[in-house]
Symmetry: C2
Subunit: 479 residues, 2 copies
């Protein structure tokens, strides 16, 4: 059975697990959990760490609140997912990079009211520098692009998979870290970049077993909203903050969104216009509202046309309510969600042509996305799409007595030199344990080094699937 990485299979697994195990799972909730039952359980964790202590002196064995341990059974699932992220990125010719998890706080401080900057996991280091555990990967990419300077030929196609952090004070049981897969294209002004990114996402989803019936990729352009705001003479400086508020439409009551937009000096007529816009469902309706002489519409049309050629259009849906919650997006924006809308967004991205400029560098057209590790695993587990990944080795090599351990070690080395994965028993134990352990480690063969056979240059080999046993010479062992 595959171990649950995130919370979704909690209900099923909890019944089969003792309380001790159950508590071990309480800290591996999604970054933000949509399902109230799970959140409630997670919240009840507060103060419960002590009751799994074995004695008064035992340290707190849980990871820091809001973080996850990945024991081997959980690590295998994460690794499988990350391998898919990497495989798809490589098929698209993207190069992997990595920046430090710790960055200067400046890199993330923006004044647009984003949740991400309000929940920064920041602190002062011992040299009185303001630093932060990064909340997202894009600003670090931008920093590295600027650092490389003119020596870096455009376009850049880079990807990374890294951990991101947030510090969220008020509620308990919510996760403070998650991992994100990012792919970014720098130096390409056209929607060909966005289509390439969306095609990579679609390939990832399909490799994981998810098709257009499972996941919708909702696409819009901030330029649509921008054109609307221009129509109502809303000042350009308000654009970023307005986007952040509009992004909350699916989380907050309309009245509150109206109030927040009003605080940004958006007129009641403009607010009506915004709310009407977000309810439209086709490019034709938007054309009717804004006119056809519109950059946003031309780009969106081109995007849908290219998506058709790339074979991904069944995943795509035009949805003008999509604006995304990051201040730096300037054009196409998109996000992925399961069709049943049971889970939170799987990924989000878009064009951010202004970011390098706001960092004081030479402007470059940029597009990219972030794809989290947690919601996708919830969805995959819900659909039974996480494969069983038991522990496995080719051979379990065992000396029948301590005097033969050196011999067993030489046999293990011979097998490894031929590329076989080998668990070597490091203690003399009874045969009952040996058989049990060969099952536990998932061995295909049990290789016994016993006195009589060894004297003849042979070992006893048991094929554990076929349940066949025979004596094999060392040469034949690796043949």
């Amino acid at each position: 059975m595959a171990a649950p990485l995130c919370g979704s299979s909690f209900a099923q697994t909890a019944r089969r697990q003792c309380l001790h195990h159950l508590k071990q799972h309480l800290s591996i909730w999604p970054w933000r959990c949509q399902r109230p039952t799970y959140c409630a359980s997670a919240q009840s964790r507060a103060g419960s760490a002590s009751d799994i202590k074995h004695s008064a002196e035992l340290i707190d064995v849980n990871p820091v609140r809001g973080t996850r341990d990945f024991a081997p059974e959980e690590y295998r699932i994460r690794r499988w997912l990350f391998d898919e992220f990497e495989a798809v990125s490589r098929l698209f010719g993207f190069e992997q990079f990595e920046t430090p998890m710790l960055e200067s706080e400046d890199l993330f401080v923006r004044k647009a009211g984003e949740e991400i900057t309000q929940q920064l996991y920041n602190f002062e280091d011992k040299g009185q520098r303001r630093v932060a555990l990064r909340p997202e990967l894009t600003p670090s990419l931008a920093r590295l692009i600027l650092r490389k300077g003119k020596a870096l030929p455009m376009p850049v196609k880079w990807f990374t998979v890294g951990q991101c952090w947030r510090y969220e004070r008020t509620t308990r049981g919510r996760r403070r870290e998650h991992f994100q897969w990012n792919m970014d294209v720098v130096g390409v002004p056209g929607v060909e970049a966005e289509v390439e990114l969306l095609t990579a996402i679609a390939m990832l989803l399909q490799r994981l077993g998810l098709g257009p019936a499972d996941v919708a990729i909702k696409v819009s352009s901030r330029k649509v909203l921008q054109a609307l705001l221009a129509k109502y003479q809303v000042p350009e400086a308000s654009f970023g903050p307005v986007c952040i508020v509009v992004d909350k439409l699916d989380k907050l009551p309309a009245a509150q969104v109206r109030e927040e937009l009003g605080q940004l000096q958006v007129s009641p007529e403009a607010i009506d216009g915004i709310l009407r816009l977000t309810e439209l469902t086709s490019l034709e309706e938007v054309t009717a509202l804004l006119g056809s002489d519109n950059e946003a519409l031309a780009e969106l049309s081109r995007l849908f046309e290219l998506a058709e050629a790339s074979g991904i259009s069944e995943f795509l849906e035009f949805d003008p309510s999509i604006v995304r919650g990051l201040a730096y997006y300037t054009g196409i924006v998109f996000e992925g969600q399961d069709r049943g809308q049971q889970f939170r967004a799987l990924f989000g991205g878009g064009r951010y042509d202004g970011l390098l400029g706001t960092f004081g560098g030479e402007a470059q057209p940029c597009a990219g996305f972030g794809f989290g590790d947690c919601v996708i695993l919830e969805l995959l587990q819900d659909r039974g799409l996480v494969p069983a990944m038991p522990r496995q080795v080719d051979d379990f090599v065992v000396a029948m007595d301590a005097s033969l351990h050196g011999a067993a070690s030489s046999v293990a080395q011979r097998l490894r030199a031929h590329g076989r994965t080998v668990d070597l028993a490091l203690e003399s134990r009874k045969m009952k344990w040996v058989f049990k352990q060969s099952e536990r480690v998932g061995a295909k063969r049990l290789v016994l080094v016993a006195p009589d056979e060894w004297a003849q240059g042979k070992v006893r080999v048991k094929d554990l699937a076929a349940r066949e046993e025979k004596d094999v010479s060392l040469d034949d062992l690796t043949a």
Copy 2:
């Protein structure tokens, strides 16, 4: 040319690089640099970040002081090394795990005077919890083992590759992070565990091209020193702190070590005994000093005997001056160094049977090692053993005009579906750029989607190594 990950090839590369590039390399020094020239250069970095700014408003494009960016050319080298760490661990049947980089400070606070705990990268989070960026991986492994509790069958063979941090106030230009490969065996009391770990290290070294002529693995047991201290009636409680001081013998003048030992209430006679012990070079001499009825000597003899059988004895050297600088080691200790002693220790490890007990858990015999990413890369680069790892893709697919981009995208998708890595050009550019770019991305083939050929269901394919060009039907393209 392989890009330098650490400082060792600095001298060669610096001459070929402009000042801009040179400054980019100044932050990627080893954790602690042994070579004064490099350290001097690194130190001169202080305050220089600002002069690579392109304008007054440019953010500091360098990573946080003491940390490294891994641009793709550096990431490829790191990835190659980490893939070797992982491949060897898997050949030995070890399972991968991961714990958070952020841990409770308590996990690392020990009172034995270790450098590692004095340089903790710790801070208070917004919930007034004392936390730290981990300085090493072993305490987190121990925590996770205790968290798993009795449900975890012994022995455990786990490995991890993770980033470790230190905050070091006084000197400049020294690195504050590095990565470590750790392998640990929990639940095995005999030296079979240590030999298995040493055999894995030897295999790693050999896969990287380093043999016993390049690297020495120096081995001793803390029980040797313990037996000597018992002979001089030094109290048992002093054992840990005495080890920490003795470990400084290769870094501090003997007089200072004498003084520090004196402060630990070790008698002058005992100090003389310790210093004499550390100068011995054979088990026979130690037997002469301590007598043959000695657990340490029995274990060491067994270790060298098993090492012979495993084929790794040429790497090993008995050296009673090896005690290692961590308080928790209890038995066998070892460290690896290049034979020329040009570089710092490559790795270190040993037995720590007491750690789980000091955390309040059930005691378990444990042995493990940490192997850093930096010194090994310095050594490999010094020996010319880092392979060239240029950027590479199978195909570079280009549309001859914008109207064919959709077609080019469909061709790219067809190739990727057959497992080929494909860089798709996202802009229409001149042929001169196309050829240059196909070289930059390291393409094996250039696939041109041009109007006439496409009308016939064909594309133009240029084999860039053979410099042959022909029209190919879509079916033949992936055949």
